[in-house]
């Protein structure tokens, strides 16, 4: 090989890795500006890819830490982020809803009729609340018994209802069967609401009605509830009759197979599925979620469409903001490889989820994942939850680190 040719090849490889190659840049469209989608856009753009982010909302309101807002420990403004940094970075932002995807001709149609072509599409639509899965619970009912499982007005509504409740009232939270967004979320929420009650309305009670018999960080939560909140918090699992089969929103009644529970404040966390655009794209299976290739995150049911975050079937990875962010980076790497005609390397992924039991008491679950048998599988020997016998100092450190994580990830994703 001549020096010229060798140098040329080396230079073109360097040029490919460098940003701002407008002339021949491949086009990737990202749908959804949450932790997954915004991360994907942020990390694809420096790889010499022309990135369009389709997101109808001008602001993103973060679910992580929104339980602290419900408990009066934070303000919703601390949860709110804009896309200014993404635009400054050179990502094209389209404030529209995607309504149609023609995967055969690789084209997205927006609500206003505009069409956008792509070489590869990233779907990060998050969840839709399945308003047909729980009798009596639809969007109208959520105005009376909030879900607060998408942060924003619903978060504020639940907080206001709790603040307006007289001391001695009963708050009921219903938790769905797996899989759902943020597996430890209902239990962190119960903890922080109990913290509010303990300090402001100590005669009140908090009941969790659960559609399952086991949940994330269960032994840590239940031990902490007993220690900190005594009899205030009660959890009823599936086999104890905890599965909610119907909701009577006007009367704030949860119906189970074993009877009815009347609440003063009712928080219904309903069953969920991938955001609707994933089904429109043909990427969801009968479960309502999207099977993916664990190396590339490409949908198993449609070509050139990658699914990340809550909407995908992440194998061992939970539906969390950390997972979505880590998947976005791995997916961006795989897409850049595929667009260059290279074989994507096998990724390794990490998840960390912190939960607060009270303001200075944090617990965590962590995991490391790699592709195995067509799924993202737990790396054996790694991961797990905080130790049961940790000192108060360790719990305080984890609460402190949780804050640090939130600052870091929101800075990385939203600038």
């Amino acid at each position: 090989m001549s020096l010229t040719r060798r140098t040329l090849l080396a230079t073109s490889a360097a040029a490919l890795a460098a940003p701002a190659l407008a002339q021949t840049a491949p086009k990737v469209v990202v749908i959804g500006g949450g932790f997954g989608g915004a991360s994907a856009a942020r990390f694809l753009q420096p790889m010499g890819i022309e990135v369009t982010l389709i997101e109808p909302n001008a602001q993103y309101i973060s679910c992580p830490f929104s339980n602290a807002v419900i408990a009066g420990l934070r303000d919703l403004s601390q949860q709110t982020f804009t896309y200014t940094a993404l635009e400054a970075q050179g990502i094209r932002l389209v404030r529209q809803m995607a309504v149609k995807i023609d995967h055969d001709i690789r084209r997205v149609t927006l609500a206003d009729g505009v069409m956008i072509s792509y070489d590869r599409l990233v779907l990060a639509p998050g969840i839709d609340l399945n308003f047909s899965a729980l009798p009596g619970y639809d969007e109208g009912a959520s105005a009376l018994m909030p879900h607060a499982w998408k942060a924003g007005a619903q978060t504020t509504l639940l907080r206001q209802q709790i603040e307006a409740m007289p001391d001695g009232g009963t708050i009921i939270i219903s938790a769905p069967a797996n899989p759902f967004r943020c597996p430890p979320g209902p239990y962190e929420r119960a903890s922080l609401i109990a913290w509010y009650l303990k300090n402001h309305k100590p005669k009140s009670k908090l009941l969790i009605l659960d559609a399952k018999d086991a949940f994330s960080k269960q032994s840590l939560f239940t031990a902490a509830w007993k220690d900190i909140y005594g009899d205030m918090v009660e959890w009823i699992g599936l086999s104890g009759g905890g599965k909610v089969t119907e909701v009577k929103a006007k009367d704030k009644i949860f119906v189970t197979e074993f009877g009815e529970h009347k609440a003063d404040v009712g928080n219904v966390i309903p069953p969920q599925r991938a955001g609707a655009i994933a089904t429109i794209a043909g990427a969801t299976d009968q479960t309502g979620w999207c099977p993916i290739d664990p190396v590339t995150f490409e949908a198993k049911l449609v070509q050139n469409i990658h699914v990340i975050g809550d909407a995908c079937i992440g194998g061992g990875m939970p539906k969390s903001a950390f997972s979505a962010n880590a998947q976005a980076k791995a997916c961006a790497q795989a897409i850049a490889s595929l667009l260059r005609g290279q074989n994507p390397a096998e990724p390794k992924l990490v998840n960390t989820c912190y939960s607060l039991v009270k303001p200075d008491y944090g617990i965590s679950v962590a995991g490391v994942y790699s592709p195995a048998k067509g799924l993202l599988a737990d790396v054996q020997g790694a991961g797990g939850v905080s130790p049961a016998n940790a000192s108060a100092a360790v719990r305080a450190a984890e609460a402190h680190y949780a804050e640090g994580w939130f600052k870091t990830i929101t800075q990385e994703v939203f600038g």
């Binding site: 020096l3 010229t4 140098t7 040329l8 230079t11 073109s12 040029a15 890795a17 460098a18 940003p19 701002a20 190659l21 942020r42 990390f43 753009q45 420096p46 790889m47 940094a85 400054a88 970075q89 050179g90 950390f322 962010n325 880590a326 980076k329 791995a330 961006a332 790497q333 850049a336 490889s337 390397a345 096998e346 990724p347 390794k348 992924l349 990490v350 960390t352 965590s364 962590a366 995991g367 490391v368 790699s370 790396v379 020997g381 790694a382 991961g383 797990g384 905080s386 450190a397 402190h400 680190y401 804050e403 640090g404 994580w405 600052k407 870091t408 990830i409 800075q411 990385e412 600038g415």
Partner: protein
């Protein structure tokens, strides 16, 4: 040699100019290019990012120091709240590659 270089420059003028343009462009606030990052490395940035937070920063650590810390977390020689659980998911070779990347390309400006 001089002749080759001249010919080379002519052939590649455009490409070199484009590359130079990229290198001289002022750094935007966007994240770094993770295209060449070894498996697992980009996930580190989810906690150990560019800014100062409650979490320990990796900014002033050398690759050898990161590697040694991960080995200590793995073996239990160093106490941790969480890193012991994550370190056990990576081999010594994987850790070395990650540490090297984090202290070169992975380092935010």
């Amino acid at each position: 040699m001089a002749r080759i270089q001249t010919r080379m420059t002519k052939t590649m003028g455009g490409a070199l100019l484009a590359l130079l343009f990229c290198l001289c462009e002022p750094a935007l606030a966007g994240p770094q290019n993770v295209f060449q990052s070894p498996p697992g490395a980009s996930a580190c940035l989810g906690c150990h990012g560019a800014g100062e937070t409650e979490l320990p920063s990796l900014k002033n650590l050398t690759a050898a120091e990161i590697e040694a810390a991960m080995e200590a977390f793995r073996s239990g020689g160093r106490e941790a709240t969480l890193m012991n659980r994550i370190a056990k998911g990576f081999s010594a070779d994987e850790t070395r590659a990650i540490a090297q990347w984090l202290t070169t390309q992975g380092r935010a400006p």
